[in-house]
Every structure is written in C-alpha cells, then in structure tokens.
C-alpha cells in the first residue's frame, strides 16, 4: 500500500513541477528539465507500481532490478554490443549508405533512369524489407556478415531516394550561375549540388540509423552465433530472464539515441547554412 501511495505522490509532484516549469519563460534549461522530470517520474511510478501490486519479475522487473542486472553483466552486454552493433549494424550502415550514395550520383546523370528509379525506390522503401532477413541469413551464414547484408538491403532504398531527391534540389538560377562561371560537371557537383543535397542526404542517414539497428537485431532471430543482442533477447525471453532482456533494451536504446544524435550533430556541423539549423 505504501508503495502505491508513494507512486501517486511522485506522479502529482512530477506533474505539478512540470506545470509550474512550463509557465516560466522558455529557456534552454527549462526545455531540458521538463522532459527529464517526466522521464524520472515515469521510472519512479514504474518502480512503485511493480512493488505495490507485487507484479512477478517474470512479467515486469523493477528498474532497480534491471540496473543491478545491467551492472552485473557488463561483460555479456559488451560482447553482444560488439557483435551486433559494431560488426553487424555499423558495417552494413556504411556499406549500404555509401553504395546508395554512389548509385544516386550515377543515376543522376541519366534523367530516364532517374524517372524510373524514383517511383520504384519509393515503393520498395515502403515494403516490409525486413522479410528478406531469413533469405540473407541463408545466403551469408549465421555470423555478422548476414546481419550486415540485411542492414544494407534495409537502408539502401531510403538513402537512394533521399539522395536522388537532394541532387535535384538546386534551382535553375543557381545552375545557370555556375554555367556562366564555366563550371564543368564535377565542379558543379562538388561546389553546388552536393552541398545543396546535404539536408536530404542527412535526412536519409538519420532514417537509416534506426533501420540499421532494427535490421541487425531482427536478423539474429533467424539464426546467429551464441552472442549478439537479438540472440540474447530471444533466448533470455525463453529462460524468463526478463531483467537481462531489459538490460539489452537499455543498451539498444542508448546506442540508438547516441547513433541518431551523432548523425544529427554531424548534420548541424555540415548544414549550418540551412534555415532549419539556424532556427
């Protein structure tokens, strides 16, 4: 009973604090504090509800239990992180985005191909590409190569469509100006069209970060060596070791946010001139 009352108190305090903060003039620290308070309140309520209602740890472990498990099994978590993120997701991300970028630049020279590839690319980007996972696992074996292949297939089309669109983002005036400077194709590409395409390219890169992690983890459900985040999640669920599953989810959340945040920071540095960044 005490735990439930504590949870209710935490809820009211958190809510009141946020209502009060939201009335203050909008500064950087307020904009940061409000979501943090919301998140902390949520975790406290979770802890109190699980303890108060005596929910079995097999269904939903408490945040403290997850934290303890996280600290106790850093070795396993690190090993899975290396297998899934560094070997599978990251190499697939680099290969997939890199090749999509090169194909987009090549396609850009042929308007006929471009008009054909854009609708097809848009169509494929909406398909459940993740279904290719079992096939690619069959082709490339159980180790990280097949996971990288799944990631390549998943990130290729979103990246391609965005880059092709970005390369069309210059207007006639700008291109004409370059032509009056007697700029060749490559000068035009590097000095005008690629910089102008950067907001689109980074949009593709950001979409691809989440796809890469999902692809690498889900591909492990179809077969993997005895390490990797997807493998650990599916086997730990079978052993009802839900605290370990949640620890893996925490790792995935941190990695996902850091990956996305890193690309967003890079975007800020590269496209500082764009209206959306000057805000």
């Amino acid at each position: 009973m005490g735990w439930i009352v504590l949870g209710l108190v935490a809820w009211i305090v958190g809510w009141a604090a946020n209502v009060w903060l939201a009335r203050l003039p909008k500064t950087r620290s307020v904009a940061l504090a409000v979501p943090v308070i919301f998140g902390v309140t949520l975790i406290v309520i979770w802890e109190c509800v699980v303890r108060g209602f005596d929910i079995s740890p097999v269904l939903l472990p408490t945040p403290t239990a997850i934290a303890v498990r996280f600290a106790a099994s850093t070795g396993i978590l690190w090993q899975d992180f290396v297998q899934t993120v560094l070997k599978g997701a990251l190499s697939g991300y680099v290969i997939g985005c890199g090749s999509a970028f090169l194909v987009a630049v090549a396609v850009d020279r042929f308007p006929f191909l471009q008009r054909g590839l854009l609708p097809v690319g848009n169509f494929v980007a909406a398909l459940p590409v993740i279904g290719m996972a079992p096939i690619l696992v069959m082709w490339f074996g159980f180790d990280w190569q097949s996971k990288a292949a799944v990631v390549v297939v998943m990130v290729f089309f979103p990246m391609l469509v965005n880059t092709v669109q970005g390369l069309q983002a210059t207007d006639t005036m700008q291109r004409d100006l370059m032509r009056t400077y007697a700029a060749g194709y490559w000068q035009m590409l590097f000095r005008l069209r690629l910089p102008a395409a950067m907001p689109f390219i980074f949009n593709g890169l950001k979409i691809a970060t989440t796809l890469a992690l999902i692809g690498a983890i889900v591909a492990e459900f179809f077969g993997s060596p005895i390490r990797g985040m997807g493998f650990r999640i599916s086997t730990s669920v079978g052993q009802l070791a839900l605290d370990l599953v949640w620890a893996e989810i925490v790792v995935a959340a941190i990695v996902g946010s850091a990956f996305y945040g890193g690309v967003a920071l890079l975007e800020k540095a590269v496209t500082f001139w764009h209206p959306s960044q000057r805000g």
Binding site: R115, V120, P128, M138, T210, A252, S257, Y260
Partner: protein
C-alpha cells in the same frame, strides 16, 4: 503519361533480367554438383533450365514464385492451413487493428500536444526518443509477457503494430494542426470562435493532407510490426510464420512467395489510403 510510365517499366524489366541472371549464378554450383555426381556434362542451355527449376534453389526464379503463389492462393480452399490467403488474412487483421489503435492514439496525443503546453514540453521529446529504440527487437518479449497475463492471439501483434504506427501519425498531426497561420487564427478570433470551433472548423480540416501522408507511412510500419510480431509465437499462422517456417526447412520458394505477398499487401493498403485521400481532399475542395 508515357513519359512517366515508360521509365518505370524499363526499371522493373531491368530488375527482372537481373533476378533471372542472379538465379542462374546462385543456383549453378548446386546444378553443376549434381550433374557431376550423375556423370553428365551440362550444356549452357541445360544449366539455365536446371537453375530455373530447382526444388530448393538458393534464389528461386520469378516464375517459380508466381507459380507457388498461384498454387497456394487460387488452388487451395481459403480456410486451409496451406493457403496463403488464410495466412495473409491473419497478418492483415493484426495490421489493421494495430493501425486503427495507432492512428487513434497518435491523433489523441497530437491534439493533447497542440492544446497543452505541459504535454508539448514533456511528452514530445520522449515520443521522438521512443523511436530510436529498436522496438521490433523487444517484440518477442512483448508477445511472451502478454501471453503470460492471458492476452493472446490478435492483440499482442496489434500492440506492436500500434507502437510502430502511432509515431508518424503524432508527428504529422502535430505539424498539420499547427499549419493554420496567424492570419487564419486571427480571422477565427474576430468571428469570436471558441477553442472548440477553431479546432473543428479550422485546425482539423487543414491538417488532413498531413494526416493522409503520415497514414501511408503508418500503414507500412504497421504491416512490418505485424509480420515481426508473428515470428516468436511459435510459427503457427500468418505471413511472418510462413517466413520462419520456410527458413527452418529451407523452403526458399515458400519464403519468397510470402515475401511477395507481403509486398503486394503493403502496396494495396498504401494505394487504398491514396484513393481515400484523393476522394476526401477533393470533396473538401483541397485537391
């Protein structure tokens, strides 16, 4: 029209040519191996014919997949467990339920965010953060946990679809509900419109184009969620189960037919929303 269709047809034809060529290249080692053991020498045309007609090829040729789809849809009764229509229906029902729940949740959150400053500041960052978590990865846990508390069947899969599909709706609707500019809002104020009236007569109608765009994304995401949600349920029914069973038994043709069926389903659902969008916007005088 010809300008738009011809390039697409050319690209699709190119994909098919590449597919057939890849089928020859990938299946050739197995064909050669078998021929060597039988002690015969394969001519090139025999090799090609063999690679396009294997039982368990590495990459089945398109016509094999089409034949398999025809066999499992048209020639099987719909209620049979071997009918692809039966499996598609299971996946489709989970997709649609999840899509409906996700859309409802997304719109409700968006309305809250637009009208409540506290919600805007506290919930919005977490909604964005929630999508950097690879939710599909915890699909098996959600399924198992919900099964343990007695919720099974359609609902767990629909929950995963919901989680994937609410995000595009929230983002699109927040943008859409905020799309009326100051002039229009001021006009409503000069008419002494209440907050309710402003919402129903101005904000909601002007958010429709944004809503439909995000519904298309949400539908595609919801189908992915339903398919992945079927993977850990022990592979009983649904397109995801067909994928998993196919990968256990090396039935590549079965995997590809399930995959193509999922693609067709996604295309049909997105096209359906496109049609509804065109009709609605036309009747509202926006398109």
């Amino acid at each position: 029209m010809r300008r738009a269709v011809l390039p697409v047809v050319a690209v699709v034809a190119m994909i098919f040519v590449l597919w057939y060529a890849a089928a020859v290249a990938l299946n050739a080692p197995w064909a050669q191996d078998r021929a060597k053991r039988a002690g015969v020498e394969l001519s090139f045309s025999e090799l090609v014919a063999d690679t396009w007609a294997q039982d368990k090829p590495k990459l089945p040729a398109p016509h094999q997949v089409v034949a398999e789809i025809w066999k499992t849809t048209a020639l099987k009764s719909v209620t049979s467990k071997r009918s692809l229509v039966f499996h598609s229906w299971i996946t489709l029902s989970a997709t649609l339920l999840g899509f409906a729940m996700g859309t409802a949740l997304g719109i409700a959150l968006a309305v809250g965010i637009v009208f409540n400053r506290v919600m805007d500041m506290s919930v919005m960052p977490w909604i964005i953060a929630s999508q950097t978590i690879p939710i599909l990865a915890i699909a098996p846990m959600i399924i198992v946990v919900l099964n343990a508390v007695g919720i099974s069947g359609l609902l767990p899969k629909a929950m995963i679809s919901m989680y994937l599909s609410f995000f595009p709706v929230v983002v699109g609707m927040v943008k859409g509900l905020r799309s009326p500019d100051h002039m229009q809002l001021d006009q409503m104020r000069t008419w002494n419109a209440s907050g309710n009236q402003t919402f129903w007569r101005l904000r909601l109608p002007s958010s429709m184009p944004y809503l439909f765009t995000s519904l298309k994304v949400a539908m595609a995401a919801s189908l992915v969620g339903a398919i992945v949600g079927e993977l850990p349920t022990g592979a009983v029914a649904g397109l995801g189960a067909r994928l998993l069973a196919g990968s256990y038994y090396g039935q590549t043709i079965q995997i590809w037919s399930a995959l193509l069926m999922a693609a067709a389903l996604a295309a049909a659902l997105v096209a359906l929303i496109g049609v509804i969008q065109r009709i609605t916007l036309k009747r509202m005088g926006m398109a």
